[in-house]
């Protein structure tokens, strides 16, 4: 099976790019592929725990937790998170907290790389 590394720079709420990422990762994982996800830029707010589920807004926490429990590696850019007032203890359990080289190291191993932009 293959290995897909995704970089997500899109913001959490209201951006369907983030919803796309969650669905694509689930589908890839379900088909037996390995998946790693790097959250950077405005994407870094996605890993905050305690997001209220309002039906008017994308709510990814449930999906992220499911991905993590199924073996998908998820990591957030520590400086991007800090700059948004998100501390290490705010991050959902099982998500990693690292510097940008984490993403590069996952790209090293990957068969396919998709960078989802933030604009």
């Amino acid at each position: 099976m293959g290995y897909l590394t995704i970089g997500c720079f899109a913001s959490l709420t209201g951006s369907m790019n983030y919803d796309f990422l969650l669905r694509l990762s689930k589908a890839a994982q379900r088909k037996g592929h390995r998946v790693s996800i790097w959250f950077s830029g405005n994407g870094s707010s996605s890993i905050k725990k305690g997001q209220k589920i309002l039906k008017d807004y994308s709510h990814g926490e449930k999906h992220l937790r499911e991905l993590i429990s199924n073996g998908v590696e998820i990591c957030v850019c520590e400086s991007c998170a800090y700059a948004r007032g998100i501390m290490k203890e705010d991050v959902i359990e099982g998500a990693k907290w690292s510097a940008m080289h984490w993403f590069l190291s996952k790209i090293y191993e990957a068969d396919r790389v998709l960078l989802i932009g933030g604009e």
């Binding site: 830029g41 405005n42 590069l104």
Partner: protein, 138 residues
């Protein structure tokens, strides 16, 4: 386990400052310097940083973002990339399209760096992209 060198093309197509896009392209490329802590001895990563289309406007000198907005300029990141001798390419056709003169592009001499930004043709850029193992379009 995979070994050897993996070539990454960081391709910047966006303007500076609207969002963090171009800044994050440069800082992610720069992180190759410390990635060895996460790799084995026989594994390396070599980034190229490539500016095309509107992205070339990131490479103009004399950004005053710190003066006006207390914000590190994209220019500062670019100079850091020059100081560590990263390969940086700017598309010649794009700077011509926008009427930007080559002397307005950040250069190595101003900061005492060895390696300059290279202004190269679209065809040369396609060749560099062709040799890359992965594409990162910012």
């Amino acid at each position: 386990m995979k070994t050897g060198d993996v070539k990454l093309a960081f391709i910047v197509t966006k303007l500076p400052y609207k969002s963090e896009t171009s800044r994050l392209a440069i800082t992610h490329a720069l992180s190759y310097q410390t990635v060895e802590v996460l790799l084995e001895d026989n594994q390396t990563i070599t980034p190229s940083l490539i500016f095309v289309d509107e992205g070339v406007l990131n490479c103009i000198k004399n950004h005053k973002s710190m003066e006006h907005y207390e914000l590190t300029s994209v220019e500062t990141h670019l100079k850091n990339a020059l100081l560590v001798e990263m390969d940086i390419y700017v598309c010649k056709e794009s700077i011509e399209k926008f009427g930007v003169l080559p002397e307005r592009i950040v250069n190595a001499e101003d900061i005492g760096a060895e390696k300059s930004i290279k202004i190269v043709s679209k065809d040369e850029i396609k060749e560099i992209i062709k040799r890359a193992d992965h594409l990162l379009y910012f």
